[in-house]
């Protein structure tokens, strides 16, 4: 039996109208994705304030992924376009401060793409696990 094997903690912000349903579909189809992924449902990917991402890292996340509707498919017409600009700038800024760029990702997953959801999460979890624990944006007060 393996004891204390490192498992990354991943926070996934999923849009209620697409990726969250995509995750559901992945489950219904019995597609595996790591249990390390903790999903937070948001009404739109645009709801994700950049400080949410930082806050997730503070509370112990090793990777943060934001999933939204494909460009053009937003339930609110244009939310994901704003997300795209915001997150591009945020990810670039985190990289500028020396935070590993593999810890963050923005992905478009529709409600019909259960397979893509599972594949994305598997890939992202592997990528974050390879980096190891998040040391650069950790808050020691929030250590488990």
């Amino acid at each position: 039996m393996q004891v204390n094997k490192y498992r990354p903690l991943i926070v996934a912000f999923c849009c209620n109208w697409c990726s969250y349903a995509g995750a559901d579909l992945a489950g219904n189809n019995r597609l595996n994705y790591p249990a390390d992924v903790k999903i937070i449902r948001v009404p739109c990917s645009c709801r994700v304030n950049p400080s949410f991402v930082l806050r997730a890292f503070q509370r112990g996340a090793d990777g943060v992924i934001i999933c939204g509707c494909h460009p053009g498919d937003c339930h609110y017409t244009s939310g994901n376009y704003y997300t795209r600009r915001r997150m591009a700038l945020l990810f670039s800024m985190l990289d500028y401060l020396g935070i590993e760029r593999e810890r963050t990702r923005l992905e478009w997953v529709s409600a019909a793409e259960g397979a893509k959801f599972a594949a994305t999460m598997n890939d992202f979890a592997e990528q974050v696990a390879a980096l190891g624990e998040n040391k650069r944006l950790e808050d020691l007060r929030c250590k488990r």
Binding site: Q58, L89, M93, I99
Partner: protein, 331 residues
Amino acid sequence: MQKINRDVLIDRAISLLNSGQVSSVLGWRQGEFFYDVTPAVFTDENDIRENFVWNDFCGANFSKYLVSKTKASDGKILVFLKPCDTYSFNQLLTEHRFDREKVYVIGIPCEGMVDTGKLKAQVGDGLVSAQSTEEGLLVTTLYSDEPVNVDIKSVLAERCINCKSKKHVAYDELLGDEGQIEDSDRFDEVARIEAMSPDERFAFWQGELSRCIRCNACRDVCPACTCEKCVFDNPVSGVENKAPVNSFEEKMFHIIRAFHVAGRCTDCGECSRVCPQNIPLHLLNRKFIKDINGFYGEYQAGECVGSRAPLVDYNLEDLEASDVFEGRDTQ
């Protein structure tokens, strides 16, 4: 040495005040020492004659003061704006932060302002006075018998060495000649940091940001930070006004501060000027400006009133967040 003499400014201020066109004047007043020139509101002619200051130490950007001063005053306010200040002025008008009708703007040319820290590093502490000469400053200190000649270029503030524009983008009246938008090297330092390895970058910013004492001066002085209720004053935000207890809070504060003004920052450089710990905060803002220029096309906040900031706008063909690092292989 500034092109426009103090007397010219005083004459204009007094004549506008006496004719009743303006009811108060926003200008600079000497602080405890000659180099800590502070913003002040003048309403009296004699006060202006005695205490109005205009020299190489008048760094303060008055745009932000207009937000509260126009609310408090019924009459017009006369304000002196340097070229970089007029960008902030336009940006605030874009955001409907004050009534343009209540302000009378006199544009004044600027030859760059002195960074007191650099001056002290060069001639030592105990500055007594500085006389502007053609090439620089004649500085007297407590500890030297002779006045020291200082080359102005060696003590100019970083934002002035890399001045982005000597052109006024807003004014009612211009003293001196119309300037030009300049070619500056302001993104060179950002590019230098980008070229570092992630470990070096992390060490660099850890070193800079760990000096932060959370005095909030950068937020208070920033002409783009004009929210009446600020997230950093919220006691449940976890980053309210207190010294950062660990490295996470430093980064959280500075990333969020820079993000809140991203796309609206005119790069006036006030944040770095007021930082008591000399943290190069403008490098965070400039990173956002550089990225915005690169990703979404050249954009200068405050260049014209009413322009749409990049973060409240979008384009169907914007680049994907995953493509941000394309062509950057410092990993």
